[in-house]
């Protein structure tokens, strides 16, 4: 029972990342009708916002201590972060909490990137086929990842979680078990709660604001909304920016779980598209549900007992489930009639 509960928890943070990326993909597809293969690159760019913020905040001054020697006999260099020099203990706290604080940088940066991407490139492909949209956005993703590679290098850059959130939460004790029977890393718990918060915020924005209501109306019938004098195109551009922010924030908070590299977006892109297809093209609840479902299934498939029965199942489970669901429900779990069926 403990094992099952542990794997369930484990699937939730992974599912949270899939759900956040798939949510953004579905927002773009639902509003603009664009199949955006550059969406994974937005996740990666978000992660590099965290890298950039930490780089800036940890710029160092170098002093030489002539009393001490380095292992090769030269005077020892002592490096102190500028933030710590200027701000003392507060500077140290800023560095420690650099990942969550970098959200403040990521929001405007990702919003601008999203809007520029939509106005500069995507809008020219609204009336083109999905195949052409996929080709151009995939090309854009490659360009973006190569830019990141040239600036940050090819190697993963570890981003530590704050000291207070590096340990494990003792879930077992909360559930009345003995201590240390069922533990779970605190940051993974934070990530799961964060993803739930973002998903809730997006749904609330779409359902409880006038802007969201107009967007939802536009998703159902763009022409009619336009006919009553609403500039739906501008709102959809903003939605593209919001989708970029959602992907970017998912990337920022994921960095302590997986050190980001330039290829991070591609690693998540394919899985996220499977999530969107399983959830149903254009269905926001479907994307979220499928994200968590597939994350949890992937986690269960890694159990020793399961792998003993079907070796290698952990590597193919997501695709296997996708095939089965599409055979049983061709529109996905919550797909709408007529979407991508013409």
């Amino acid at each position: 029972m403990n094992v099952i509960f542990a794997q369930l928890l484990n699937g939730l943070d992974k599912g949270g990342a899939y759900a956040l990326i798939a949510l953004g993909l579905t927002l773009v597809f639902g509003t603009l009708g664009v199949v955006n293969f550059a969406h994974g690159a937005l996740f990666m760019l978000g992660a590099f916002c965290a890298v950039t913020f930490r780089y800036l905040i940890t710029l160092e001054t170098v002093t030489v201590d002539p009393e001490k020697l380095s292992p090769w006999g030269a005077p020892l260099e002592i490096r102190t972060p500028l933030a710590q020099n200027w701000l003392g203990d507060f500077g140290a706290v800023l560095i420690d909490y650099s990942v969550p604080i970098s959200i403040l940088l990521a929001i405007p940066v990702m919003l601008v990137i999203g809007v520029v991407m939509e106005r500069g490139l995507i809008k020219h492909f609204y009336r083109r086929t999905h195949a052409e949209q996929i080709l151009v956005t995939f090309g854009l993703a490659i360009v973006l990842q190569e830019i990141v590679r040239s600036v940050f290098g090819a190697n993963p850059i570890p981003q530590p979680a704050p000291q207070d959130l590096r340990g494990a939460a003792d879930f077992g004790v909360w559930l009345g078990m003995a201590p240390n029977v069922l533990t779970y890393p605190l940051w993974r718990l934070v990530y799961f709660l964060f993803s739930i918060g973002i998903i809730g915020a997006v749904f609330a924005f779409l359902h409880f604001t006038t802007f969201g209501m107009v967007v939802r109306a536009g998703m159902v019938d763009r022409e009619t909304v336009g006919l009553i004098g609403i500039d739906i195109g501008r709102r959809f551009t903003i939605m593209f920016g919001i989708a970029a922010v959602v992907a970017g924030l998912a990337g920022v908070m994921y960095t302590p779980l997986l050190p980001p590299n330039y290829h991070l977006g591609m690693d998540f892109l394919v899985l996220s598209f499977v999530v969107v297809v399983v959830g149903g093209m254009g269905s926001l609840p479907g994307a979220v549900a499928a994200g968590f479902l597939l994350g949890i299934l992937q986690s269960f498939a890694s159990m020793t007992g399961v792998k003993a029965i079907i070796p290698g199942i952990d590597q193919i489970i997501i695709y296997l489930v996708a095939v089965v669901i599409l055979l049983v429900r061709p529109r996905g779990l919550m797909g709408r009639r007529g979407v991508m069926e013409s």
Partner: protein, 449 residues
């Protein structure tokens, strides 16, 4: 009309016989350099080119880039630049610090991407396009074995870099391949007594293993060594190379009944899996009435730095450490530190040493002709390169020297001070019968690439 007179048939036959004998004997008389055109990339100009084939991207990139620095420093020292480093401490040595056989050393580099096929492609380019006389470098045993096999086919000597699989000098050994680095079997022999001493003989181990040749042989060797101690193996689970997030593989450890997790991971895999295992609270647990322990049988300074605090107290083995007190290690650490501003890793050390050993073998053989260079390396006994007296065994091309047992430093005094040496296992203890891992070296015959 001219007549040839006084020449008998006997004299003609004598003359012909003498001529035939002379022509047959000539190559033996002018033996040095006589095989001028008979081997791959015979250097004809005033330079000789080495091919440094290391992962610069992918899971093992950090170790690969550091290995490359070791190679570049070796080239400087071979060409007589800098302070000479370990050229001054190698004994015996034929190196003069003026290149090799009077030719300056040049080099080309390639990125293996931590992938077997990319490593082979890159090595082939170095041989066919850049005329490399020798190819060296690796951080994964998969790429080392693949390149070694290619080099045998092409008749180019391959001095492997960091490769720890038993297969490299076992079932996949090649006449043209040489390994200075230690192997998984030696790690198992070296670490077992320390595990027994630190954690006792009644333990239950759970292995997470990188799913390729190195992981398999390390798992096999460590499993055999720990079971000989009396430990029970609860499970051996294979993990894909470079997945990054190991949480789904760590979670089942919690309720497996194991009280030791053995991570057969290296490079970025280990840098990810060890902190993740610590984040899951494994080291805070008590299982079977004992403190839960994590063991990383083979790790390096670069990995220790990458893993941060998680590495504190973790026991493993290492090929070399910059803190060793011998003259060779001191000389190399000084040269490397002055050049790059950090102490060298074991990856850069093994690369540096391999370049020097190849150059020295050429000098001793008096030629670049591979079969002669191979014979100069086979059975070569040397000292002064940081590992004490070392033998390049002729039967499998494996170096035999002492193995270090290390532990993550609990209270580091600097960012470089991440590992403590807690033991040295002697060369005799880690020497084994070459028949144990099978394989066939193959012929000396040179090929024309």
């Amino acid at each position: 009309m001219t007549r040839i007179t006084g020449v008998s048939r006997r004299q003609v036959l004598k003359g012909a016989g003498a001529g035939l004998l002379t022509s047959l004997a000539a190559p033996m008389v002018f033996s040095k350099g006589a095989w001028a055109q008979d081997f791959c990339n015979n250097p004809t100009g005033d330079t000789v080119t080495f091919g440094f084939n290391v992962p610069q991207t992918g899971s093992y990139a950090e170790e690969g880039l550091d290995q490359l620095k070791g190679y570049q420093l070796a080239v400087k020292h071979l060409n007589g630049e800098g302070d000479g480093g370990m050229i001054n401490t190698l004994k015996p040595s034929a190196l003069k610090g003026n290149g090799i056989l009077g030719k300056k050393v040049a080099f080309v580099t390639g990125d293996t991407q931590t992938k077997t096929d990319a490593a082979r492609d890159s090595a082939r380019r170095m041989i066919e396009r850049d005329n490399a006389i020798m190819v060296t470098g690796s951080v994964s045993s998969g790429e080392a074995i693949a390149v070694q096999s290619l080099c045998q086919e092409m008749g180019v000597i391959y001095m492997s870099g960091l490769t720890h699989s038993n297969d490299t000098t076992g079932k996949d050994k090649r006449r043209y391949g040489f390994r200075h680095y230690f192997n998984a079997y030696q790690s198992g022999v070296a670490i077992a007594p320390f595990l027994a001493q630190e954690y006792g003989r009644d333990r239950r181990a759970y292995h997470l293993t990188a799913d390729y040749t190195w992981g398999w042989t390390q798992e096999e060797s460590i499993k055999a060594a720990t079971e000989q101690l009396g430990w029970e193996t609860v499970a051996t689970v294979r993990t894909p190379l470079g997945i990054g997030d190991f949480s789904q593989y760590i979670t089942p450890v919690q309720n497996s009944g194991a009280d030791v997790l053995i991570l057969n991971h290296y490079g970025h895999d280990m840098v990810n899996s060890l902190p993740q295992a610590v984040q899951f609270g494994l080291r805070d647990r008590q299982v079977n009435g004992k403190d839960f322990q994590i063991v990383v049988p083979m790790f390096s300074e670069l990995m220790a730095v990458g893993a941060g605090d998680a590495v504190k107290g973790i026991i493993g083995t290492s090929n070399w450490h910059w803190n060793l007190p011998d003259d060779g290690s001191k000389a190399f650490t000084k040269s490397y530190g002055e050049e790059y501003g950090a102490p060298p890793s074991q990856s850069s050390h093994t690369g540096y040493v391999q370049a020097l050993l190849y150059a020295d073998a050429c000098e001793r053989a008096g030629t670049f002709y591979p079969p002669e260079v191979i014979k100069a390396l086979e059975g070569f006994e040397f000292d002064g390169l940081g590992n004490g007296p070392t033998l390049y065994r002729d039967t499998d091309h494996q170096c035999f020297k002492e193995v270090l047992v290390v532990r993550g430093n609990m209270s580091p005094t600097s960012k470089f001070d991440v590992l403590d040496i807690i033991g040295h296992t002697s060369r005799d203890e880690v020497t084994y019968d070459p028949a144990m891992f099978g394989g066939d070296l193959g012929p000396y015959d040179p090929n024309n690439c």
